[in-house]
Amino acid sequence: MSGSNRLAGLKARPKGTTVEEVRRVDEVGEARGFLDRTPRKKPGRKPSPRTHQLHPKVFPEVGVAIAEEAEKLGITQGQLIEQMWEMYRKAY
């Protein structure tokens, strides 16, 4: 086989690519065992990089105030302590 002019004789037929046509193709395939085998991501949330635990004992009213402030800001108590630590470092 030689000569690029021969390529002009090659034909492509129109093909459907609508959502409805793809759905029909999927249905036909599934019925014959051609299933969606896309690898699934691991379910659940990703593990937090915050792995260090603090165990400070504080007065009850301070503990309640920290918990309420974290809830008000929509962050965890750990994140609130991190913010407080940043402010402390900047201040000193």
């Binding site: 086989m1 000569g3 390529l7 090659l10 034909k11 193709v25 014959r32 051609f34 299933l35 085998r37």
Partner: protein, 222 residues
């Protein structure tokens, strides 16, 4: 320009080899060829990593949701699109078949390959019915003996022809050069002209086989 899809839910039947041979031979005669590597084993990507023949572009890591738009965009560029699929029964396979102008089902002349490969043929026919249009398809026997046609091969050819299934002649013979393409990259012509490439096989015979196979595929795309 046409879209050629290599399909078989069985692995190791020669889908990637067929794709490489067609891509390099069509490129050799001046076609712009885009090959889509949809196989998680990335055989074509490995082949391309050693060097692609001129005129061939590779797209890798195409999943189920990207296959239809990727074929459409490559097809729209006026190129021959060759799709190498994974050797499993998946929606990726069924979606790719729906976009084909020719589905080639490679099959080794064994009962197991024939049985599993027939699932792809059945799927093509069911998609034809569902979409209301013909999807041309053909079987090519692979890794056949260069010396003699085995009894199993003769029987299988007879059964396929008897069932009205198009069988591409010639079959692809088991040639060391076909396997070596994945080690050296490029195409058989480059392999034949480079004395440093040692294949342990007859590259000229492999090239003649690949050219005759490509000619047979060309005739089905006219």
């Amino acid at each position: 320009m046409p879209v050629i899809v290599m399909a078989s839910p069985k692995g190791g039947v020669g889908k990637s080899t067929c794709a490489v041979l067609l891509a390099s031979e069509f490129a050799r005669i001046g076609a712009d060829v885009t090959v889509l590597d949809c196989d998680p084993n990335k055989s074509l990507t490995r082949w391309a990593s050693h060097g692609l023949p001129g005129g061939v572009t590779l797209k890798s890591e195409i999943g189920r949701s990207e296959i239809v738009p990727t074929i459409r965009s490559a097809d729209g560029d006026g190129k021959i699109v060759i799709v190498d699929l994974e050797g499993v029964a998946s929606q990726l396979v069924s979606r790719a078949i729906s976009q084909a102008d020719l589905v080639i089902v490679p099959m080794q002349p064994t009962a197991l390959d024939a049985e599993i490969g027939s699932e792809a043929l059945a799927l093509v026919r069911e998609e034809e019915e569902a979409l209301g249009r013909l999807i041309r398809h053909a079987v090519v026997l692979t890794k056949t003996s260069a010396a003699v046609k085995s009894r199993v091969q003769k029987e299988l050819e007879g059964q396929l022809s008897g069932a009205g299934i198009d069988v591409i002649e010639p079959s692809l013979v088991a040639r060391a050069a076909f396997s070596e393409l994945f080690a050296y990259g490029g195409d058989l012509t480059a392999m034949m002209n480079d004395p440093e490439m040692v294949t342990g096989g007859k590259v000229d015979k492999a090239l003649a086989n690949a050219q005759a196979f490509t000619e047979a595929v060309y005739e089905r795309l006219k």
